[in-house]
């Protein structure tokens, strides 16, 4: 079979210009897929890490009743003895820390008008430990120093709506655990730009102490667990789940992917676009290669007739053409992978930025990740496409009438 492979390989280079054109087309398809896929991978990877580091964490712990809660009285289903739960969690490997949270809703008032908010109460020291960052555009982040418990961060849109800035005061109103309306005064220390306009119009962050005073409870709604690496999430979650079973309250563990709805939507969208591009490249390579391979077949009619006359099985002729196309696909894939990666390196060093996507206010850096799985997948795609393209010419060649083929000019 080695000689047959050699024959196929040499046949590819009979018409060098045509082979070069085919390689450019196949390689271009692969490179295009790698650049688009690499950019999508960068976007989803960046979105994943920013989603986690913006406060979602790798794992979150809730009580079993949390998801049936009344949103006006969120701590009714909160974690009672959260320090004990946090201690249980931190004994595991790969855990960088645990941050208590209260996710709550209410109204914020400047004395003239009141606007609804989606609030979160945090322990600034714990957040710092986990490296969670608030996107403070003006002012400072919450402070963990004594006396910092009255500080608040608000979204850019909410600040605009309320007509307040850094240093101004606001009253936060919410329902206590007993069902009474309560209020605390806070001082704005920073304006946050999350990048999502809708979020900025409702964003409020205060300290855990303020929230517990406001809500008249020392419970928290959830515990956020930060790990040393995102890839360890499944491992830690599997190890943590049984240890949470022995606690007084029944707990539920959620991984970041279960909570990152937006990330999942974006990822699905990018996967869909990538698949669509893959289908386009597949048919582009298929249609143009059929023509090229048919031309090659017609040019070699007499030679094929000679091979058949000498007793070459017709299946060998089919195999020869498919082998040639497959080898061409392999070479095109190699050209594409090398070209795509080189272009990726060039683009990464160019410092290009993409305009903000819809709903975002921040421009996104253009970067291309080099993803081995995409290189393998794109290569297989074009190889299969070329093998498919060779079926028609191969079958036609194998069905040639020998006497006619031998007299072909």
């Amino acid at each position: 079979m080695g000689k047959y492979l050699l024959l196929a390989f040499r046949n590819i280079f009979r018409n060098r210009r045509r082979t070069l054109m085919t390689l450019c087309m196949v390689g271009g398809g692969v490179a295009g897929l790698l650049l688009a896929g690499g950019y999508f991978a960068f976007m989803t990877h960046g979105l994943r890490e920013s989603t986690i580091n913006n406060g979602l964490g790798h794992i979150q712990i809730f009580t079993a009743e949390h998801f049936k809660r009344d949103e006006t009285r969120v701590l009714d289903t909160g974690i009672d003895n959260w320090r004990q739960v946090a201690a249980t969690i931190t004994t595991g490997g790969h855990v960088r820390g645990v941050a208590p949270r209260i996710e709550f809703y209410g109204m914020v008032s400047n004395g003239v008008k009141a606007v609804g908010f989606m609030g979160s109460a945090v322990d600034p020291a714990a957040e710092d430990t986990l490296g969670f960052v608030s996107r403070v555009e003006t002012g400072n982040d919450l402070d963990s120093k004594p006396g910092g418990e009255v500080e608040a961060l608000i979204g850019k849109g909410l600040a605009k709506s309320m007509g307040v800035g850094v240093g101004d005061g606001l009253t936060v109103l919410a329902m206590t655990a007993d069902g009474a309306l309560n209020g605390v005064d806070v001082q704005i220390v920073g304006i946050v730009n999350t990048g999502v306009a809708e979020m900025d119009a409702r964003y409020l962050r205060i300290t855990l102490a303020s929230a517990q005073r406001l809500l008249q409870s020392d419970r928290v709604t959830n515990l956020v667990v930060g790990l040393d690496a995102t890839d360890n999430t499944d491992k830690v979650a599997a190890e943590l789940a049984p240890r949470l079973q022995g606690l007084p309250q029944q707990m539920i563990l959620k991984k970041w992917i279960d909570l990152a709805t937006y990330y999942k939507q974006v990822n699905t969208m990018f996967n869909g676009i990538f698949l669509f591009m893959g289908v386009i490249v597949f048919f582009m390579v298929l249609m143009s290669s059929v023509n090229t391979l048919l031309m090659s077949m017609f040019e070699r009619t007499r030679e094929i007739g000679t091979m058949l006359a000498m007793g070459t099985p017709r299946s060998w002729i089919v195999a020869l053409f498919m082998l040639e196309a497959t080898l061409l696909g392999v070479m095109g894939a190699i050209v594409g992978v090398i070209g795509g990666n080189l272009l990726g390196v060039l683009l990464n060093s160019s410092g290009l930025h993409m305009p903000p996507p819809p709903g975002y206010t921040v421009a996104i850096a253009f970067r291309v990740l080099h993803v081995p799985a995409q290189m393998i997948g794109s290569s297989i795609l074009v190889i299969v496409s070329l093998a498919f393209a060779s079926i028609l010419p191969a079958v036609r060649a194998s069905k040639l009438q020998i006497a006619e083929a031998l007299s072909h000019v």
Binding site: K3, L7, R10, F13, R302, E303, T306, M310, G311
Partner: protein, 247 residues
């Protein structure tokens, strides 16, 4: 029926136009021919006389419209395409007018090809290729590609390719048509020499009367009919006239 090739009353018609039923041209009419193993036979006749058609039929690359052909005792009319292919691979070697070498293969690789498709082991292939090239005097050109060989050398490579798998029969369709007189004569002499030394049966077609002096037996065709079958040995010519008159 005990010869290597037995052609019995074979006719071959080609349909001219698929739209008009019955429109055809007859390339061969009731041709009969018996060739024994070890013969060196020329089929002669003008262009369009049916030489190539007869060789194609004997070579199992075409089927007769009527009549039967037996090769080495096998009735080829009953063979399926795959069996015809195997018969060609095992028992027949071909030399073509335009050499028909595979251009991307070297001379040695071209000669090796029939052994490759026959499934001969590489070590044995190498030995037999060397022997075949030696027998046509081209050992020194083994690694040259066809485009670097002269016409005469290319045709000698084609002859080596035709004999390397030791076929029962070698068919050569106008093997000298693209060669000058000197090379043509040398090629016929080479084929004759291989016929004598290796006992190979050669049937070749030609319309060049000068080359017929070098052959033992000449079958003449005209307008698709065998008109004579003559043998010459020691200067003595023995001729039999065949075929009837055509209306």
């Amino acid at each position: 029926m005990d010869g290597l090739v037995n052609v019995e009353a074979v006719s071959r018609r080609f349909t001219l136009d698929h739209e008009k039923n019955g429109a055809y041209v007859t390339a061969l009419i009731d041709a009969s021919l018996h060739v024994s193993a070890g013969e060196f036979l020329a089929i002669s006749g003008p262009s369009g006389s049916g030489k190539s058609t007869l060789l194609n039929l004997i070579g199992c690359i075409d089927k007769p419209t009527t009549g039967s052909i037996h090769i080495d005792g096998v009735d080829t009319s009953s063979l399926k395409p795959g069996e015809m292919s195997r018969l060609r691979r095992e028992k027949i070697g071909f030399v073509f007018q335009t050499f028909n070498l595979i251009p991307v293969f070297t001379a040695a690789e071209n000669v090796e090809y029939p052994l490759l498709i026959k499934g001969v082991l590489p070590s044995s292939r190498r030995k037999r290729v060397a022997e075949a090239l030696e027998s046509v005097g081209l050992s020194a050109r083994a690694n040259q590609r066809p485009d670097l060989l002269s016409g005469g050398e290319r045709q000698r490579v084609a002859v080596a390719r035709a004999i390397v798998h030791r076929p029962a029969l070698v068919l050569a369709d106008e093997p000298t048509a693209n060669l000058d007189t000197k090379n043509a004569t040398q090629l016929i002499d080479l084929m004759h020499d291989l016929n004598r030394r290796l006992g190979l049966t050669f049937i070749f077609s030609t319309h060049d009367a000068r080359l017929l002096e070098h052959t033992d037996r000449i079958v003449r065709l005209c307008d698709g009919q065998v008109i004579s079958d003559s043998r010459q040995s020691d200067g003595h010519i023995e001729m039999s006239i065949q075929g009837g008159s055509r209306g």
